[in-house]
Every structure is written in C-alpha cells, then in structure tokens.
Symmetry: C2
Subunit: 336 residues, 2 copies
DNA sequence: GCGTGACGTCGAAGCGCTTCGACGGGGGAA
DNA sequence: TTCCCCCGTCGAAGCGCTTCGACGTCACGC
C-alpha cells in the first residue's frame, strides 16, 4: 500500500504538505501542488479511509435508512436511494445502506461508532419512534417525510397535502362535483405513514372547500382489490366523476376495472394520480399526475446534510410544491 | 466520546485486555470478561470504526453495486440488496451502496481506500468490463450472475439456463408441442446481460431436445408491448399452447392480452414464468413459476465473501437449482 | 532600515484501536 | 523438586492520516 509518506518522499516534501495540498486547508504553492499531484498519479496513491476518519473525525459516509415495509412502492424507494447516492458522490461522500429492520439500534450504532457522519431517514411515520433518538444524536440527520412534530428536526418532502389539494382543485376546476380518493393499502394508514395521511388531509380539505361530495378508500395493492374498490365506488357514489389515485401498483388495474364496468376514462370519469411520471405515462390512458420528485428530494436532502455538516443553519422544513402534469385521463365533466 | 482506555480504567484492566475480551482473540478469564462487559454497558462504549479499521485493516464494510439500468426489474434488485444487508449484519458487517454509474472507478476507489473489505457485484454482463479489475483487486469479490468467462472469479446465481429448460420440460411434459419465450426488453439482450441470455439458451436447448416448435420474443416492459407480442404470437404460431415469460412487469398484461384475444389460461394456453413468487401469486390466474431466490442468493453471496475474507477457499461457481412451483396457469394440452 | 504580516512549509503530536512480545504464576510431567 | 508450558494480562509500538504551532522568507509600509 502506498501511503502519504511515500508520496511526500517522492515529491520531496513533508507528509503534512501533501495533506494540505490535498485538502486545500492551507495555501500551497502552485509548483509544489503540481509536483505532489504528479507523484500521487505516478504512485497511485489513495488515502486510507480509516486513517482519514480517525484523524479528521469525518468518515465521509452518510447513512441511508430505506424502508422495506409492506405497502410501500419499491421503485420509488430505489429512485430515492439512487439519487441520494449520486448526490452524495458529488460531495465526495459514500452511502451506507441500513434497513428499517435495524431500527433505532442500527442508527445508534453507525452514529456512535463514527461509521457515518450524518443520516438520511426515509419512510417517516407521523409518530416515529426514532424521532427522540434522531434529536439526541450528535450527528446531523435529514428526514425524507414529515412526522407530526418535526420541531428540532430537518425534514424534506413533496408537499403531499398540497398534492392532495391540487388534484381535487383540478377536478373541481373541470366541473366535477363528486370525487373519491383511492389511497394506499390500509396498513400504511394504520402505521401512520406521514405522506399518505397528508394526501388524505389535503384531499378532504380541498373537497370540503369546494363543496364537493367526497370519500376516501384505502386499497390493497392488488388488481383484485382495485376491482372491488371500483365496484364499491360505483355502488356507493353513482354520481362519481372524479378519482384521485395514490397507490402506484393499482393505478392501471383500477382504470381497467372502471372501463370494464362501463366507465370511459376520461369520458365518464376523470382520473388524477400522485405517482412517478414513468408510471403515469406508461398506462394505456396516460394519467394526469403529480410526480414524486425523488431525484430532487434525494439531492436536496444531501445538500441539507452537507450544510449542516459544514455548520450552516438550514430550514427545519422543506416542502416541495407539487406540480401537476396534464395528460389524457382528465376532462371536463360531461353535461349532466 | 468514551474510548477503550476509559473502559479499561473503569474495569481496572489494560486497554489491550479490553480489546481481547471484545475480539476473543486471546483467552480472558470469565471474571474479567464480565467486569469489562459491565463497564462497557455502564459507560456506553462503542469502538470507533475508523480507529478499528486503521489498526486492524478491516473496515467490516462490504460494497454492493446495484444496477440501475433500463429493463431491469427494480423490486428484485431491492430484494437482493435487502438480503445482502441482512446477511451482512449477521456477520457484523455493514453495506456500502454503489451505483452502476460509478463503474470501475467506484470499485477501485472503495477498494483502494480500504473503505470496504470486499465487494458484491450485481447485474453482471456476459462480457463485463469490470471483470479484469475484479480479478486484479486485492479484495475479494462475489458476482451475482455469471459472465462468459467466470474463471478466477466467484459467482453465484440462480441457474437460469436450467430454469429456462425446466419451464420447457414442464410444458413438454404436459403435452405442449409449440412454445414461445417472451423475454426481457431487447436492450437487456443487446447489453449481453448474462441471466437473460442463459434463459434463452436453456429454453431453446430444451425445446430442441423435446422436438418442440419454439420462438423467442424480447419484449418491452409495457402493457402495449405485451399486447403486440400476444397478437404477433397468435399470428405467427397459431398452434401455440405454451408460453414462458421472463419479464416481470408484463406477466399480467400479457395474460390479459391473451385472454382478450380469446385464449383462456390455462384452457387454451399454459403459461410459466421466471419471476418472484409474490408476482406469480398476485396475478389473476396464479402463474406456475420458478422463483428468483433473491434472499438465498444474497445470503449465500455474503457467506462466500466471509469465507474468502477468512482465508477459506470457496467454489468459483455456485448455481442454485431452479424450483418450479405449480400454480393455476398450466394444464395438459387439450386434445387436438 | 526595520517591523509586520502573509505565505509556504515542516515536525511532531495525536486520533482510538489492535497486536506483538513479554512476563508472572500455577499446574503437570519428569 | 525442577523444568516447562500454558493461561491471563500488560505495555508499547504502530496503523496512516490530519492538524497545530512554529519557522524562515519575502514584500510591503513607514
């Protein structure tokens, strides 16, 4: 293994000079810097991560806690993970993968052993048991998602409440008077998963504000469940003309079910969804949707952490405004 | 931060004794060990990962390279990742997440800086550019998947060739004489992704061996594409009665398409698939399938690495035998 | 002409842990 | 009884890097 002293000798300087040339924490003359760079290249020097971490008390590693619970949509999680890794690399950091399963002990472990400098936590519950720990930890963290009491924490997410509202506003604007929300699987709400709850809040608030008749239906992520919900909706709300879907896997089956029940989309029924763009575009009838900006959220989460690591204050809450993309699944309500 | 010297002082022993008590690398009397354990608990001691890595030249971190290419099925990747993390934790290791994007440089970086002790590489191509690097690296690695020349590497995967064969054998055993393989998206084959290729090999070999008429159809992962393939199959192979699907997202749409074209499954058409069990079971007509044993592959990959890290020799190739689970989508061919 | 910084570099002291060699004491073999 | 060896423990020497204080040099202002 080639070490910093080898580089120093080769370049005819002291190890500390090499270190400063690398970190830029003290001025080094252009000429010396060049010489050191050449030696590094020639010898193929790579600083030892452990030694660096020990001496600088910075590991340049971030922890990412990914959920693997029932009812969450895996591709979205993966998108977050990838965007976090990519963003972290831009800041010369790596990402350690933790599963939800490890729970609080896992967080404490990687933080206390100084394996990681900071933490990113996904799939936050409204009353997440990890919150006290995260507040107490001596390492900065960012939550992707909002708990009920985000005080003292740094959180970022799509503004799901606004997303729920926006879907309804759009339907109301198109003249729809009876709307329904087909939501995530029941267990997601039972757990108090924040983002799902907030969609419901927004949906309901906007429906009330606009004087719409509305209902909310959690739904398992299976085509069979989608069909049953469709049938139930027709039965219970025969005047229904607007549907908001917040459940990726059943978006397509649900639309199929409606059509098989004789409802054309968007002729008889307008559908909006909160889901990744790829999905909304991939359906037979492309769906008007609000995307989950996973790339942006991941990148911004990392930026927030970097700022915190740098000692800069950051806002506690970052809510990304929803943006609705008009596609083929929405239309004005047909004259009654 | 509480360190090993604090524990030592508190327990009335030397730091090295604490270290040995923790690692078990030298005998320590039961009594002393108890005392040390108590001190550790009381003080909340956690060994500093960087210091440990520096002194022992072991970071207890594994790198996992996940693919994020077009055409791969994300949930399966996630399953692998989770099972790797879980298995790694059982061996007191953590997992660093690398994206394919980082490529060879990323592998070299984490290996050369001693950030990780060993590497797990997914989504191996038949002629993967990373192979020479992996062979040359001073750290052990395991590939999930088989390249064309696996010599000098440690590889593990489901035996996809046998899986392809098994699907055909099963269909042949049920009396089917004309079969088709609906495969992964074309780009997967173009890239030479090993597992996809091997399914084709196995499928073709078994079809020939059994004297079946057969054809192979790569297929985009969209319902529209599924429908087009279904129509094409009916047109080109009107006598078709057996289909093997190796493309998770279109399994259900494809069956729907067949039924809409008037073919009942399994009445007119028997379908087998290579896909996760959850998917096979979630379809309206549960599909006879060969599961991708991601949990087992991930766990075994980690075991292999641990053995290699321990200096034990391991077999170069580990092929997991496919196991076919009979479900509702297969039946004997109707009398002609 | 001399004090004063700023600049560029060096040396040394750790960071917290593991590990190697050494050592005292007790028990078994001779 | 003597010798040897093993068990349990200690002390010290690093692991490879960063960082702090110090030092010489040079340019500048007065």
């Amino acid at each position: 293994m080639v070490k910093i002293t080898d580089v120093a000798r080769h370049a005819g300087v002291s190890p500390s000079t090499v270190s400063y040339a690398l970190s830029g924490k003290r001025p080094i003359s252009e000429e010396t810097r060049q010489r050191i760079a050449a030696s590094i290249r020639e010898l193929g020097y790579r600083p030892h991560a452990g030694a660096r971490a020990l001496a600088s008390s910075r590991s340049n590693v971030l922890a990412l806690v990914v959920p693997l619970r029932a009812g969450i949509h895996v591709p979205v999680v993966m998108q977050f993970a990838v965007s976090v890794v990519t963003a972290a690399r831009r800041h010369d950091h790596d990402v350690l993968l933790l599963t939800q399963e490890e729970g609080e002990d896992g967080l404490r472990r990687v933080a206390d052993t100084a394996l990681v400098d900071a933490l990113i936590v996904m799939d936050v519950q409204l009353h997440d048991p990890r919150l006290p720990l995260l507040r107490a930890l001596d390492r900065p963290s960012v939550l992707i998602g909002f708990p009920a009491t985000p005080e003292g924490l740094t959180c970022i997410d799509l503004d799901f409440k606004a997303a729920g509202e926006l879907c309804v506003e759009r339907l109301a604007g198109l003249g729809h008077r009876v709307v329904a929300l087909v939501g995530s699987p029941p267990e997601v709400y039972v757990r108090g998963t924040a983002f799902a709850q907030r969609v419901v809040e927004g949906f309901t608030a906007a429906a009330d504000r606009n004087g719409l008749a509305s209902s909310v239906h959690p739904c398992e992520a299976s085509p069979g469940a989608a069909r049953r919900v469709a049938e139930q909706l027709l039965r219970e709300q025969p005047a229904l003309t607007g549907v908001v879907v917040h459940n990726e896997p059943i978006l397509e089956p649900l639309i199929d079910a409606f059509e098989q029940l004789g409802l054309r989309v968007p002729g008889d029924l307008s559908v909006t969804a909160i889901c990744p763009d790829e999905l909304a575009e991939g359906v037979r009838v492309p769906v008007t949707s609000i995307a989950i900006p996973s790339a942006e959220v991941g990148a911004r989460a990392v930026e927030l952490l970097m700022k915190k690591l740098g000692g800069t204050d950051v806002p506690e809450a970052t809510l990304l405004a929803p943006r609705l993309t008009e596609r083929a699944s929405t239309a004005c309500r047909a004259a009654p």
